[in-house]
């Protein structure tokens, strides 16, 4: 078994982990760092449930080798709140009824976070495109789009 010691910043904190070279980032986040908010719906980049931000960009952590994160900045759903207080984005998901079973929610919030942090002026179409790598079977996406729109209006 080959391992590699990597250093990354996860949700603002520096973390040093010895990862197995075979592991996906998803497995390391859930298994070693206990960040269970990162979900697994397919393991092959199709559903977006495992979305995290790497250096600010949303990626599917299931098809990202953990060894690649050495020196990188990772953000997961657990890093979205501050001091136990929901971010405006999270609050918008609650208020707009964008959550049902909730399994897709962390992934959607991370994709939406990247959109909001892009600093771009976003149209509805931009939002839809930005969320198109995340699947949801419960909501028909309607309230998720509304939540992101609301978060933008509230200037997160």
């Amino acid at each position: 078994m080959m391992t590699k010691k990597i250093t990354m910043r996860v949700n603002g904190r520096e973390v040093v982990v010895e990862v197995d070279i075979r592991e996906s980032l998803l497995e390391v986040l859930r298994g070693r760092l206990n960040l269970k908010g990162v979900k697994k719906g397919c393991s092959v980049g199709e559903c977006g449930a495992c979305t995290v931000l790497i250096n600010g960009e949303p990626i599917d952590s299931c098809i990202y080798l953990a060894v690649w994160t050495d020196g990188k900045e990772i953000r997961t759903i657990e890093g979205e709140e501050t001091g136990g207080k929901l971010s405006k984005l999270q609050q918008a998901f609650v208020d707009e009824g964008a959550v049902q079973c909730g399994f897709c929610t962390p992934g959607f919030i991370m994709s939406a976070r990247a959109l909001l942090d892009s600093g771009k002026k976003l149209t509805r179409q931009d939002i839809i495109k930005g969320l198109s790598g995340n699947m949801c079977r419960c909501t028909g996406y309607q309230n998720i789009i509304r939540a992101v729109e609301r978060a933008i209006e509230d200037k997160v």
């Binding site: 657990e78 609650v94 049902q100 789009i145």
Partner: protein
């Protein structure tokens, strides 16, 4: 009303947006072993030889079991309440593992290892030799003379039933026109985001604990007991947060095997998680049903007789089996009742994935056939499809002769009127044959006759749906309330929150009934068969209606006890007090007497009278109510690219009183998007030569993405259903029923082409347009 009818925020939303909600895989312990199933790579046949020695020898493998090692008796898996009547029990046609292969991916052996990787490697070391038969994927193949029997002695028929109401032959003889047609629906899959997963271990007292993502914890307990041959009380089932169900978890898919595997490794915890690819073929799918439909109509558009024949394709094991098509038959006459109707259905085994329950339980299929057929008839007779329906629709007060269900609230006419108005039906229809809506969304205005390659059309379809399963199934639900020291209450229910929002709605009902704010209701969202009361689970759109009855009853009881206790404290008769906003008040003038918190504290700690206040209710609801509604859709069809764009879709509901509009609306969004997928893109495909699934993953199975779903508009016609708690009726499954036929009818309006098979995807558009000379 302070809580009912309000947009109360989901009580679990905060945990979910924080990523703190706990699903099965978030609860496993570090020492958990991992199991993987060894699946067949043929669709039909036998295992001639299996050799697991290499797998067993792999370091890290704790156990390898095959069909040789499992109990010899068979068990059922359908998520139905148990029945003592052997005649009506679900078909028990499964073993935990099988030597006889009945679909591609059938379960032959299983491996338990220290981790997932080792388990996967071990699977590759299992050697197997098959005797292979041709796959059986169609009704014709299943029923043809000399077909290989998938289950011995069945002739591949699970069941065959029917009924006749009135004199059908005479009624047809009296009809001015008779219309006949055929419709086919396809195999689709639930695709809930969380795959099937459970973990099981054995307590030191020998009891088996199964933590599982299920809709039916109590049924899992019973079926695990049956499958393992142990007393049901020796099994404890715990249901944490569930990542969606839609019926795929109204079935006992993997829990008994997982418990068996844990027993094999002496009770150590074992996790069994299906991959997406496995989940799509080895959990459950929706039945593909072939329909033949015949309708007799008078000149004035009155329907006088109907006949429906159905063959339902069930896959390799019975699961819910014939119940699904029976349900379709039993309910196909609710919406347009007539004196004469006939139904005949057969459910056959095929060597495809097992069909079970999926959102609508046979009704999306039959509604596609019926509502499409009705539009075709209206077209042939030159009648407006809406007028034609209105002429034949059910009236309030109607009693269904088969089930005895009485229609006590009926808003279908208002639903249709609302939908018509919202989509501007008359206005758009007035603009010409087909539809020539003014330019919208920047699209060019179309020519009147619609001769171009891009054509627009309008369509609609109606539905009706029951609330729960009475009188076919037992409708029992349990609720327990405990008054805490601070005047808040704990609510324990047997009904399962799986994402639909039932916990929130129950909290609202409790709060309303007792007279406290919703925040003072703490719902135990985890179902645990050792702790939470008995309830059959989340299915049949039953929870708000059926389990809600139990919740309201429990809340009424606890309120009565509080008032009684307070009467002892204050000397005021219980009957002249009420609770408003957690304060006990005089009924006649609303003056405050004492806070609920003070009563509660006293009930715990008063040295003389202390007796903590609880209520524990079990309700056997021997009643049912019909929900109604419709979908209106406007489509744009590009003939040349064979693409359909849904421009507008309105889903209008009479679901009685709406307890939580925001949750109800969200439920509709999800259902409609599922309906859109059913209509236009979703279909599980198999290689006809081998029976091998071709697209059992989320890239190749066309679940709609956010880019594929148009804006979904919803509307409620609120009626009051006297039998329902706070006047409510079913809403869980109903939104998914009518979109497919509405879209189909809109495509017909746009192109003049009848699509009688689902899905109506570009491949089928191409074929039909080509045949019709449109290309």
């Amino acid at each position: 009303m302070q809580a009912i009818g309000k947009n109360v925020r989901r009580i679990d939303a905060v945990a979910k947006v924080r990523g703190q909600a706990k699903y099965v895989d978030d609860l496993t312990t570090k020492d958990v072993l991992v199991a993987k199933v060894f699946r067949s790579t043929i669709a039909n046949g036998w295992v001639k030889r299996i050799d697991t020695s290499k797998a067993a020898a792999l370091p890290g493998v704790e156990a390898v079991v095959t069909y040789e090692d499992v109990p010899k008796h068979t068990f059922p898996t359908a998520g139905h309440p148990y029945t003592k009547d052997p005649e009506h029990q679900d078909v028990a046609d499964r073993n935990l593992l099988t030597r006889r292969v009945r679909f591609y991916g059938d379960e032959i052996a299983a491996v338990v290892a220290v981790d997932e990787f080792t388990a996967e490697q071990a699977l590759k070391l299992i050697e197997v030799e098959y005797e292979e038969y041709e796959p059986i994927l169609t009704a014709e193949d299943a029923l043809k003379e000399g077909a290989v029997e998938i289950h011995q002695g069945t002739k591949n028929i699970i069941d065959h039933t029917g009924y006749e109401l009135g004199d059908v032959a005479a009624a047809f003889a009296g009809a001015d026109y008779i219309f006949e047609d055929e419709f086919k629906t396809s195999i689709v899959q639930h695709c809930q985001l969380e795959n099937h997963i459970s973990y099981a271990y054995v307590e030191s007292d020998g009891r088996i604990v199964i933590i599982t993502s299920t809709q039916i914890p109590h049924i899992v307990r019973r079926i695990a007991g049956q499958a393992l041959g142990v007393p049901w009380g020796k099994i404890r089932v715990i249901k944490p947060c569930v990542g969606g169900g839609f019926g795929s978890r109204q079935d006992v898919v993997q829990e008994p095997l997982n418990a068996f595997l844990s027993l094999t490794v002496h009770g150590r915890p074992v996790k069994l998680e299906y991959s997406r690819e496995e989940c799509m073929i080895a959990s459950r799918v929706r039945h593909a049903i072939d329909f033949k439909i015949k309708t007799g109509v008078k000149k004035d558009g009155t329907i006088v007789a109907r006949e429906l024949q159905a063959i339902s394709l069930n896959g390799g094991y019975a699961s819910h089996g014939h119940a699904v098509v029976s349900n379709a038959g039993a309910k196909f006459s609710h919406l347009y009742p007539y004196n004469a109707s006939k139904f005949d259905a057969t459910t056959v085994y095929t060597t495809a994935p097992v069909a079970g329950a999926m959102r609508g339980y046979g009704i999306p299929q039959v509604t596609f056939a019926v509502e499409s057929h009705l539009d075709d008839i209206a077209r042939s007779l030159g009648l407006d499809p809406i007028e034609f329906r209105l002429k034949n629709l059910v009236q309030q007060g109607y009693v269904d002769p088969l089930s005895g269900i009485r229609v006590d609230s009926c808003g279908i006419r208002e639903c249709i009127a609302r939908g018509k108005e919202l989509i501007r039906w008359d206005e758009k229809k007035a603009q010409g044959k087909g539809n020539t809506a003014p330019a919208e969304r920047g699209r060019p205005q179309l020519k009147k006759e619609q001769t171009g390659t891009v054509r627009r059309g309008l369509g609609m379809a109606c539905f009706s749906y029951t609330s729960g399963t009475h009188p076919v199934g037992l409708e029992i639900a349990g609720a327990r309330l405990v008054l805490n020291q601070d005047g808040s209450v704990q609510l324990q229910i047997g009904a399962a929150e799986i994402g639909q929002g039932s916990d929130t709605v129950f909290a609202q009902m409790t709060a309303e009934t007792i007279g406290i704010p919703v925040e003072m209701v703490h719902v135990l969202s985890t179902q645990d068969t050792d702790l939470t009361p008995f309830d059959t689970g989340a299915y049949a759109s039953r929870q708000t209606y059926i389990s809600g009855m139990a919740v309201v009853k429990a809340a009424e009881e606890i309120k009565a006890r509080v008032l009684n206790y307070a009467s002892g404290m204050t000397g005021i008769p219980a009957g002249s007090m009420d609770i408003i906003n957690a304060m006990l008040v005089h009924k006649h003038n609303g003056e405050q007497i004492i806070s609920l918190a003070d009563v509660a504290l006293d009930s715990y700690y008063d040295r003389d009278s202390a007796s903590p206040i609880t209520a524990d209710v079990s309700n056997n609801a021997r009643i049912n109510a019909l929900s109604f509604g419709c979908t209106f859709a406007e489509v744009e069809v590009d003939l040349a690219t064979c693409k359909v764009e849904v421009l507008k879709i309105y889903n209008v509901h009479d679901a009685g009183r709406i307890i939580n509009p925001q949750l109800a609306e969200a439920q509709i969004h999800g259902g409609v998007s599922m309906g859109l997928g059913y209509a236009l893109s979703e279909q599980l495909l198999f290689d006809p030569k081998t029976g091998k699934p071709l697209n059992n993953n989320l890239l190749d199975y066309k679940l709609p993405t956010v880019m594929d779903i148009p804006e979904i508009s919803t509307s409620f016609v609120e009626t009051y259903e006297p039998s329902g708690p706070y006047g409510c009726k079913s809403l869980g499954e109903t939104p998914a029923i009518s979109p497919a036929p509405a879209i189909r009818n809109a495509i017909l309006d746009a192109t003049g082409i009848k699509f009688n098979e689902l899905p109506i995807n570009p491949h089928s558009l191409f074929k039909k347009f080509k045949e019709a000379g449109l290309l």
